[in-house]
């Protein structure tokens, strides 16, 4: 069945049932964020010779998210003949 498989092992037809099976309770969502955070932290920051890449990837994602947030105002400042 599609239960307890990792996302890359789930077949396309089983995808809806896999998504519905995820834990969408608040503690489940918090757990997902926590696991995601520690996955990134342990891969890029918590290593013996961490470099600037660990921090700068986070900052680049922050800049990108802020750009998406303010796209609505920014699209009026493009160099176009008709806005």
């Amino acid at each position: 069945a599609a239960s307890e498989k990792k996302l890359l092992e789930v077949k396309l037809g089983e995808l809806p049932s896999w998504i519905l099976m995820r834990d969408f309770t608040p503690s489940g969502i918090a757990g997902a964020f926590q696991r995601g955070y520690y996955r990134y932290y342990n891969k890029y920051v918590n290593v013996k010779k961490g470099s600037i890449a660990g921090l700068s990837m986070v900052l680049a994602a922050y800049v990108f998210l802020n750009y998406c947030r303010s796209y609505k105002e920014l699209k009026h400042e493009r160099l176009r003949k008709y806005h």
Partner: protein, 226 residues
């Protein structure tokens, strides 16, 4: 130009939800904690910096004032990191909002003053009158000292707001001018670009200095009152 100059200072709201909460909480992600003696480079660097700053700032206080170390260190970290993150393109800086800076300044100042009034009432009231003033001047001087005391939290908040907001506005304006000048006269655009580079370096300095000044002044108010 009028409308979009100030749109970067609007509190971010997405679908009516306060996104600004997430933006205010974001710097905390950049300061991981570690229980180990020897941790990774990132945490070690931050611990070294924190030790340097706390030794420099808290050494002037007595033991009662040093109970405020945690508060002042988190204050300088928060203001410094928030200001520096605000220099990234398109980001929102919470410290440009007067409401937030007042919310930081007033409780801290009030805490320092009330601590002084409760524990060393005579000494803290004596601050209202500098030593050696001629007798006829005393009433006026007390009034002046009271006004200068009550203006301290306002000055703290407004100083931080104005400095950061003015810096961001200047960057926007000069950047816009550089872009507009590129098609008109490339040399002037290059000069304006150099000004922009220098201004950005200044803004990095200002970001950190403002954090330092805020925290230093709160610590001074504390020193007077413990």
């Amino acid at each position: 130009m009028n409308e979009n100059l100030f749109t970067s200072f609007i509190t971010p709201v997405i679908l009516g939800l306060p996104l600004v909460t997430l933006i205010v909480l974001f710097p905390s992600l950049l300061f991981p904690t570690s229980n180990r003696l020897v941790s990774n480079r990132f945490v070690t660097l931050q611990q070294w910096m924190l030790q340097l700053v706390s030794k420099q700032m808290m050494s002037i206080h007595n033991s009662k004032g040093q109970t405020w170390t945690l508060m002042l260190m988190s204050l300088i970290l928060f203001i410094g990191s928030t200001n520096l993150l605000g220099l990234l393109p398109h980001s929102f800086t919470p410290t440009t909002q007067l409401s937030m800076n007042l919310g930081m300044a007033i409780p801290l100042w009030a805490g320092a003053v009330i601590t002084g009034l409760r524990n060393k009432t005579k000494a803290s009231l004596a601050h209202f009158l500098p030593q050696g003033t001629p007798t006829p001047l005393i009433p006026m001087l007390v009034i002046i000292e009271t006004i200068s005391l009550f203006i301290q939290p306002m000055a703290l908040a407004v100083r931080l707001t104005a400095n950061i907001t003015a810096g961001h506005l200047l960057i926007h304006l000069i950047g816009g001018a550089t872009l507009a000048l590129m098609s008109i006269s490339t040399t002037t655009a290059l000069i304006t670009f150099t000004i922009l580079i220098l201004l950005t370096i200044l803004e990095f300095a200002v970001a950190m200095i403002q954090a330092y000044v805020f925290t230093l002044l709160v610590s001074l108010y504390l020193h007077d009152n413990t």
